[in-house]
Symmetry: C2
Subunit: 339 residues, 2 copies
């Protein structure tokens, strides 16, 4: 697919800073990626924000009068169908008007809408949220980061296939090494779920390297780490909390003395580079893998830069046909006599 034919549906009303930042990021993405953006939501407000922008010719505004609230129950969002901007955004992907969908709104509602309306790829039981970590060795993909809080072992094996396809297509890692998040490197170090998943992963058509530990998410040399969504979400928030804690502790220490202030002023540009690397906006959105379509979930705090980067990720996933690759790998694993 030619980049200029790529169409990304963006929920203009989702996230704490919608619609202003969402629209601004969409305009930047349309300009930078030469793609079309379908902005879904309050067409009058969106129209005002788009007007007179040089990239407005690449924008289609799709009206949806309602918005899914951040604390709304997923079932309620489902019932409202395409009346909401989020429901309509998913529908555009479902009916192939768009090639990808992005929303920074209520992530539980988005997960439910995408799972029910798009359905999963044949052979995939549950979609998973994948997040990219800025590991020492380069980008590392962790999944599931929160979609499935109680997993079956075979779902974990499916996550490994999904993660492998995504790492190949979007992160450009030829033969991704896959690790199982556990509490020791030996096969038997883990809980009932990881022990069962270990056996399945050993026979899956992926490059499984065994158990990895929490420290390997930033320091290890694997490319994809799989775990259940409860553990993955805790790990993600511990890491975010640790980064915030260390940066704020350093700032407080530095600001407490003249000497500290001087050192901090000298180091500021370098610290800025490190903070940027740890910034959620770097990758813009977390792909929801396993559904039939490229679908990305944004952080509630999503701003224009995050939207632009999410669209960049979406365009790459479309161009590399990650969804098709997941389907192909699942079919291969089902056909494999060892499974």
């Amino acid at each position: 697919m030619n980049a200029s034919d790529t169409r990304i549906a963006v929920d203009a009303m989702g996230g704490d800073r919608a619609p202003e930042e969402i629209v601004a990021g969409s305009l930047r993405a349309a300009e930078a990626l030469h793609c079309r953006i379908l902005l879904v939501g309050d067409s009058r407000r969106i129209g005002t924000l788009v007007a007179r922008h040089p990239a407005r010719g690449r924008i289609d505004v799709i009206d949806a009068g309602e918005t899914v609230a951040m604390d709304e129950a997923p079932a309620a969002a489902l019932r409202r169908g395409t009346a909401t901007s989020m429901g309509k955004t998913i529908e555009l992907l479902r009916d192939q008007t768009a090639d990808a969908a992005f929303s920074a709104g209520n992530s539980g509602a988005l997960l439910a809408l995408a799972t029910i309306r798009l359905r999963t790829v044949a052979g995939i039981a549950r979609p998973a949220i994948a997040t990219v970590w800025p590991a020492r060795k380069g980008p590392l993909l962790l999944l599931d980061a929160g979609a499935n809080v109680d997993c079956r072992p075979e779902w974990i094996a499916q996550f490994a296939i999904m993660g492998t396809a995504y790492a190949q297509g979007v992160l450009a890692i030829a033969r991704p090494k896959v690790g199982l998040l556990s509490i020791g490197e030996e096969e038997k170090k883990g809980n009932a779920l990881t022990e069962a998943a270990f056996a399945l992963l050993s026979r899956a058509p992926i490059r499984f390297v065994g158990n990895v530990e929490g420290r390997d998410l930033l320091l290890g040399d694997v490319d994809v780490v799989v775990c259940d969504g409860f553990v993955g979400n805790v790990a993600l928030k511990v890491a975010e909390g640790a980064a915030e804690y260390l940066f704020s502790s350093m700032r407080a220490l530095a600001m407490a003395s003249l000497r500290g202030k001087l050192g901090a002023a000298i180091l500021r540009p370098m610290m800025g580079a490190l903070r940027a690397k740890m910034d959620y906006r770097e990758y813009g959105g977390a792909p929801l893998l396993g559904v039939r379509g490229v679908c990305l979930i944004g952080h509630g705090r999503t701003d224009a830069l995050a939207v632009e980067n999410a669209c960049r990720t979406a365009a790459r996933a479309i161009g590399q046909d990650v969804v098709g690759a997941i389907g192909g790998m699942v079919a291969e694993s089902v056909a494999s006599p060892s499974l």
Copy 2:
């Protein structure tokens, strides 16, 4: 109990740096805390290390000819009984020759020995490993950090009681706030285990404040966080990895330029203070809560400072009768009609 009557049994042969660092730390602890240390292991080697030290009068050397290997199966360590330095150390606590036990050796073996030989406090199903986190608000206790990889909800409620007693006695927090580690603050945000544990915690004789998230381990304002041992161990290792990643990334960035080197040189003393705060040696050992006796597990890398701090922690737990307090609180919770 008078400090000078306190007797701490220390496995002199456990850990990567045994026996030299273990003996050195024990001597420092005996001197600083005015307590007796029972050093268990190769009596000839220990004797040489203790000789002529001013604190040698506070040291008893207990011979044990064998050592539990770091990769030895717990069942094998159990079978060797008191022939090993670790087995003998636990035995000294069991027969009340010592008031506390510490080992930096094979932690799986220590867990098995302590559980089987000391047994659990009446009403406690499983012991848990507790770790102290240097949170922004002050020390925070996380348990279980790895003793129980597949937990029942009632064990989590028991961890909360054990953690409360320890936080009161050793961390001197009058009414510790207890949080349940989950993936959202609302009661229903979690997995099957946390939902069931939430209900039990709400009725337990503790100050339960609800669910907390991964970021709260360093940034929140709770005092005790409970979770199953798999999740707790992952969280601990993610945080350790994140700290190591950030410190090493900063060092690399700073060392890449003259400007960076200058800034780093100016900030070095402050960074040192922060690193020290994050240092596992600060608390020396992780208490194994729920067994009949004060028992601490050391990090494999334990050095003299860590041993000294572990003995300090042990002395406080003995002085405050943390084991008795756990027993009292469990009895209260069993007597309570609401449970």
